[in-house]
Amino acid sequence: MAWFEVSKLRKEYPLGESVKVALRDFSLSAERGDFVSIIGRSGSGKTTFLRLVAGLSSQTSGEIKYSDGRKPRIGMVFQEPRLMPWLTVEENVVFPYKPLGRKNLPLKRARALLEMLGILDYKDAYPSALSGGMAQRAALGRALCREPELILMDEPLGALDYFTRNALREEILNLYMTEAKTILFVTHDVDEAVAMSRRIVVLDEGEIVCRVKIDLDYPRKRTDPAFAAIVEQLLVSIAR
């Protein structure tokens, strides 16, 4: 059995008089240190899947299992930073530990993360003073501060401009290479998914329509013919 395994997951939502099926027969497995991207059009069920894994909603049927039998520590990055406006950047980063009390906050780790993400100078600033990119970096720091075993990223670069997006993409990749966390990454950007992940799953109307394993070395170049071929294959499966 793989470390993380999802089998025959189904999620239904009531929609007026009818029922909308957001996920059907969704099965996926991942080992520790895996980087799996889930791509697809809007409304294909990508975010629903992440929310189920995070425990933010519950599945209609199916199972989410871990080989060691316990739910791992999860760090989640949302499409928007979702920082607490009344907390400083540093306090936001240690937010997962807040219930432990002031004395037990891992401030050292928070500062190291802020330094790694390039926003240590802004540790005492409030979210209202940050740019979109900085706020998303702080949100990434918050997810990492908990030393998560599984990181869930729900289009974390979706709302950023081109340059910030590229910079943050590099940072996520560096993190993945250095800390070897298991990452489930949702995006609708095919190039981004190919550049970053080891495996890609294409979703369409709640069903997996294509699975691709990527054996290219990092850093990946878009000009590489193998890169372009994978992008082509994915685009065809999405357009089908």
Partner: protein, 267 residues
């Protein structure tokens, strides 16, 4: 940028001018009051001059009468306000989180909310006499709804996405309430308390005017019966000053806890 700077400068100057005018108004009123009473524009019995009022103020201070009445009124406010705030906050958080409770209580609360506390004074005197209880009930009635309604609004307006963040990091429901919903609703809670405190002050004085044996309202009523307009003026001015002081204190507290990052620039 230069153009913006020019307008910003003008705005600052205008704000400074208005602030100066605001500070000057009480002084102008005081001068006109003194001048009018000296020149005989009105009867000194109907409105004694500031110097006469000041003399009465000093004499009431010296005898300890003023301090005694201030203490009586403030003690009532403290008792009534803290009890009311506690009940209103607990009910509001419960209603904000569990909406069926809000729907169940709404019709009753809407009915009670529209009854002015002063209209219940005769009944309260019948039930509780002119002792402390009737005044405390008046304060609770005046304070409960501003705090309750503002807090419910704050809890309802709490960004659900922030609650989701806490849930994703494994917070329990109680921790969500303490670390996300409460801080998010805090500006509303403090606004409600500020409004409630103003209402409680006003209704208490009114209640003391009708039925009391101590307090600032009682002092004013007693002075009216003794034909001492100077003491009435001392009472009125003291009420104004204490009310403003309470409001400023709560306003400072609100600013202290809710102005996160408002002075920072934006990157």
């Amino acid at each position: 940028m230069i153009l913006l700077g020019k307008y910003a400068g003008k705005a600052t100057r205008a704000a400074a001018f208005l602030w100066n005018i605001g500070a000057a108004i009480p002084i102008i009123v005081l001068i006109l009051w003194q001048w009018g009473s000296k020149s005989g524009w009105w009867s000194a019995f109907l409105l004694p001059g500031p110097t006469v009022v000041m003399k009465s103020f000093i004499s009431l201070l010296a005898t300890g009468e003023l301090a005694e009445n201030i203490c009586a009124s403030i003690l009532r406010i403290l008792k009534g306000f803290s009890f009311s705030a506690l009940v209103a906050l607990a009910t509001a958080f419960a209603c904000g989180i569990y909406r069926p409770m809000l729907r169940a209580l709404s019709p009753t609360f809407e009915f009670i909310r529209h009854i002015p506390p002063m209209a219940t004074i005769p009944m309260l005197i019948l039930w509780f006499g002119i002792g402390e209880a009737s005044k405390l009930v008046i304060i609770v009635m005046a304070t409960f709804f501003p705090i309750f309604l503002n807090t419910v609004q704050g809890v309802i307006q709490c960004d659900k996405r922030l609650v989701e963040v806490a849930r994703a990091f494994g917070y329990s429901r109680a921790q969500e309430l303490r670390y996300v919903i409460f801080p998010s609703a805090l500006p509303y809670v403090l606004t409600g308390m500020r409004l409630g405190l103003g209402y409680s002050w006003r209704s208490l004085i009114a209640a003391e005017l009708v039925a009391a044996s101590s307090g600032l309202g009682y002092m004013i009523l007693d002075a009216e019966q003794l034909s001492r307009p100077d003491v009435i003026m001392v009472g009125i001015l003291t009420i104004g000053c204490l009310g403003s002081l309470m409001d400023v204190s709560l306003s400072c507290l609100t600013t202290r806890f809710t102005s996160y990052g408002k002075k920072d620039g934006v990157v």
